[in-house]
Symmetry: C2
Subunit: 334 residues, 2 copies
């Protein structure tokens, strides 16, 4: 008998199908805190109400994705690490995986859309990862990744459909909660998160079990919002729908994410291009932060009045990787 399948998993904590948990978020938070200083939690006044912006655009790779990637890669067994990892990403998860892989001496291959922002492609390569391009409209990135894994072996590090990734992203919530309490406030009662596949949103939902959670998506890419309303996973209908929020262009959430979102009663909200652009300008002017379109969606929903703030609202400014020409064009739109 030839060996057709990998050795059975003996440690349930290494099972990629395990459910993510608050305990997992707490374990991830300890690992993240040992490596990365907290990102600032910045107050912002919106019509007289203060909301709290978590400036994840200030992470070393310019996005929260470094959290989940570090939790995932640092938990690989020596054997898994030796075989390398394959990631799929529009750019921010790519940099997170590449950063963690470089630090751990692991070979990383990342499947990225050919139309990803130039700076995201360049930054991923600069971190030493091999980039394999695919066509976002005509190809399935998961299929491209599966083919690579079949050819080369290694471990898939999915951008959101993975318990480590969910737990790792959730560390932003625990960190923010600690920062808010250190300033003398009670904890968050509301979380407004930028949502692509639902990794960050699910992680925050686990991390802050008493808060109301809202997932914000860009127009045309509102599959999570529709899925939550329908009670079942629905896909993006037009994969060619234009959006500037490249970081949130995910065709559908995965069951592991959806289970968490549903259990927590998460609801969705959808923002327009102009609302996102306005939020980027507000972040520029009031916070002096460079926020990419996909990283400004949650703030956009609050500024546009599509989501009402709570008594203490956490807003994710989840990434800042935007090409300078695009950013200049958006700012000059004033």
């Amino acid at each position: 008998m030839t060996q057709q399948s990998p050795e059975p998993l003996t440690d349930p904590a290494l099972d990629p199908a395990r459910a993510p948990s608050l305990a997992g978020v707490e374990r991830a938070a300890a690992k993240v805190a040992a490596l990365l200083p907290p990102t600032p939690l910045l107050p912002l006044d919106i019509d007289g109400v203060t909301v709290w912006c978590k400036a994840e655009c200030l992470q070393p790779v310019g996005a929260f994705k470094i959290r989940g990637a570090w939790h995932r890669l640092s938990d690989l067994t020596a054997e898994q690490a030796a075989a390398g990892v394959v990631g799929v990403s529009s750019g921010n998860h790519a940099q997170g995986v590449a950063w963690a892989a470089k630090r751990l001496g692991i070979r990383a291959t990342i499947v990225m859309p050919g139309n990803a922002p130039a700076m995201k492609l360049a930054a991923t390569r600069a971190l030493g990862a091999e980039v394999v391009l695919y066509d976002r409209v005509t190809e399935s990135r998961d299929a491209v990744a599966a083919k690579l894994l079949a050819e080369r072996g290694g471990t898939l590090v999915h951008a959101y459909g993975d318990p480590w990734i969910i737990e790792g992203q959730g560390t932003a919530g625990l960190e923010a909660e600690g920062q808010l309490r250190a300033r003398g406030f009670a904890g968050f009662d509301k979380v407004v998160a930028c949502c692509g596949g639902g990794g960050l949103t699910a992680g925050l939902a686990l991390a802050l079990p008493d808060a109301e959670i809202v997932a914000v998506e860009p127009e045309g890419w509102d599959d999570v919002t529709r899925s939550l309303a329908a009670g079942e996973i629905m896909s993006v209908e037009d994969m060619a729908h234009p959006t500037e929020c490249d970081a949130l262009q995910t065709p559908e959430t995965w069951p592991i994410n959806f289970a968490v979102l549903q259990a927590r009663g998460v609801r969705g909200a959808v923002v327009t291009r102009e609302e996102v652009r306005h939020a980027m300008r507000v972040a520029f002017e009031k916070l002096h932060l460079v926020v990419e379109p996909g990283g400004a969606a949650a703030l956009a929903a609050l500024l546009a009045g599509k989501v009402a703030p709570g008594a203490a609202t956490l807003v994710t400014l989840s990434g800042g990787n935007v090409d300078p020409q695009k950013y200049a064009e958006i700012l000059a739109g004033y």
Copy 2:
């Protein structure tokens, strides 16, 4: 005999001519820490060498000036506070004074150049301060302020020539030193500071007595650099010399600042408009921070090779208040 002069000061700590001190910086640091969370200390790789960027553009008013203003205004006597304050500033000190005054319930009047960036004028007014405009080329701002004080009374809160202001700005250095040590490094051996009148530079020189200090100025406004080389205070020669670094457009340093700079053997460096613009783009791309021209001068000197990094170099990214159109123009110059 009529009373020609104010009542003699009975508390030497209230003497505006007293020398600023490290003990004063430490006292200021405790006051600042009670009010403002630390700004991030972000590593940046320059040709393989890590320097440490202090992101003061993330302060609530977008600049380090809030530190000195808070130290100064919170030390006013009840009588002084009741009479109000008068500040002179191109915009960042204005916002610092206005912010502190609002928080303490003190009336603030700020003398600002008519050609200050629109967002700085608007932000100062939005904080409740009265703005009195003057012409930067034909009028002396100190003379305008003196006239206001003679008419209205109150306390002058100078932008740099004041022991409280110097000590307050120095708190950025103590804070950064603590952050660096928390990451397992020894203290800073070099400090590269954006320099206008020398408030921040003198404060950092007091705060970090073992570090080499470099004051960086923009072309045409290099009076501190020339003064340090000459051993005496020299003024800017052409007050109409164009520069984008409005925050660093000070005609000359004051004796209280110069005494500290000279005693510490501070030297100057001068950067061009293009070097500053490049530094702003690097801060955008690598750090995702909006840095105004005057706030990018120190980084510009390092990037241009005009100042060599030390083993552990502190770089001030001192402000982020820049009009969006100007910022877009600079970014698009890529």
